[in-house]
């Protein structure tokens, strides 16, 4: 188990970060970013930081994502060319 799971999680982190960067649909990018935050939260739980995992789940994946979504609703969803 040990390092293998960590490495898988890290790979997922990198993949989600890259997808969030390169996706043209902003809403999709934000949702993928919230997935990134959730994986980060799992990672922190594995690194024995339950307080931070809780905070990241509530703030990083919850509040931040909602703020982004509201901002996208107020502006536009697609990236311009």
């Amino acid at each position: 188990m040990g390092p293998a799971l960590n490495i898988i999680l890290i790979a997922l982190l990198v993949i989600t970060a890259l997808t969030a960067t390169f996706s043209r649909d902003l809403l999709a990018a934000v949702i993928i970013f919230s997935v990134y935050s959730l994986i980060m939260c799992l990672m922190w739980q594995r690194l024995q930081a339950p307080d931070l995992a809780l905070t990241e789940a509530a703030v990083g994946a919850g509040v931040t994502t909602v703020l982004f979504v509201v901002a996208i609703f107020k502006t536009r969803r697609k990236e311009e060319r």
Binding site: P50, D51, A53, L54, T55, A58, V59, G62, V63, V66, L67, V69, V70, A71, F73, K74
Partner: protein, 249 residues
């Protein structure tokens, strides 16, 4: 051109960072400076000195309480900034909100949300009050309250939720975190110590643990309420922007 320069800068930075990582103490090394210098005292004594079994709570509220006071000032500052940029939602009943974020929600969704939100708030209260024993604390609880109000707002719309938590209630509570910290800090001085001393030197040693515990809980509640209200106000302010329609009463 600009792109090339920035990519070169990034590449240089990446090499620099990898160079550092290759020279850093190995991860998890019990002999590394982070392990040997300040930490042992925290881990050994935190429980006796701060009366919080959760060492992190002990550090953020007690040993490094001043940092946390700065932190709650930062969120208050963010709120002041958002309000300065976007403005607060209008008071009174003559304004309705035609918010697009409101989903056309069915009765099932509405009932579900009405049913779950109280439980989420209950959980957050538990998180706030239980912060010194289990993971969690004031700020996490506040964020969870904020998140529950977000769910409520997406389903019922801003008008409904701003009726539940009106501006009159939020305005005094937004600064409660900073004010609680300041009060506790000054109480520490009155008690004979420096700013933010929890264990007042002027009182009997036998009473000190109780005082520390109660002050810790007071600060947690202050942070929780303040954080929650700040999040809700920021969210309302962002949602209402440009969507207020005056309705003739």
């Amino acid at each position: 051109m600009k792109r090339v320069v920035s990519l070169l800068f990034l590449a240089a930075l990446a090499v620099l960072l990898l160079y550092v990582v290759a020279n850093m103490p190995p991860m998890g090394d019990p002999q590394s400076p982070t392990r040997t210098h300040v930490v042992p005292k925290y881990l050994e004594d935190a429980q006796e000195e701060t009366h919080a079994p959760n060492v992190i709570t002990g550090i953020i509220l007690n040993y490094r309480g001043y940092d946390t006071m700065g932190e709650v000032t930062v969120i208050f500052c963010a709120l002041a900034g958002v309000l300065a940029v976007l403005g607060r939602e209008k008071r009174g009943r003559i304004y309705a909100y035609a918010d697009r974020s409101r989903v056309k929600s069915s009765t099932i969704v509405k009932t579900m949300v009405r049913f779950t939100v109280p439980f989420i708030i209950l959980f957050s209260v538990y998180t706030i009050l239980h912060g010194e024993i289990s993971p969690g604390g004031g700020f996490q609880g506040g964020a969870i309250i904020g998140a529950s109000m977000i769910i409520f707002t997406t389903v019922f719309g801003l008008y409904e939720s701003s009726q539940r938590i009106p501006q009159k209630l939020r305005l005094p509570l937004e600064g409660s975190a900073v004010l609680t910290f300041f009060t506790v800090g000054v109480l520490g001085m009155v008690g004979g110590g420096n700013f933010l001393t929890y264990a007042w030197p002027h009182i009997a040693v036998s009473l000190q643990p109780a005082v520390v515990v109660w002050l810790t809980i007071l600060v947690e509640i202050g942070i929780g309420l303040g954080g929650a209200m700040v999040f809700i106000s920021i969210l309302f302010s962002m949602i209402r922007e440009g969507e207020e329609v005056a309705v003739v009463p």
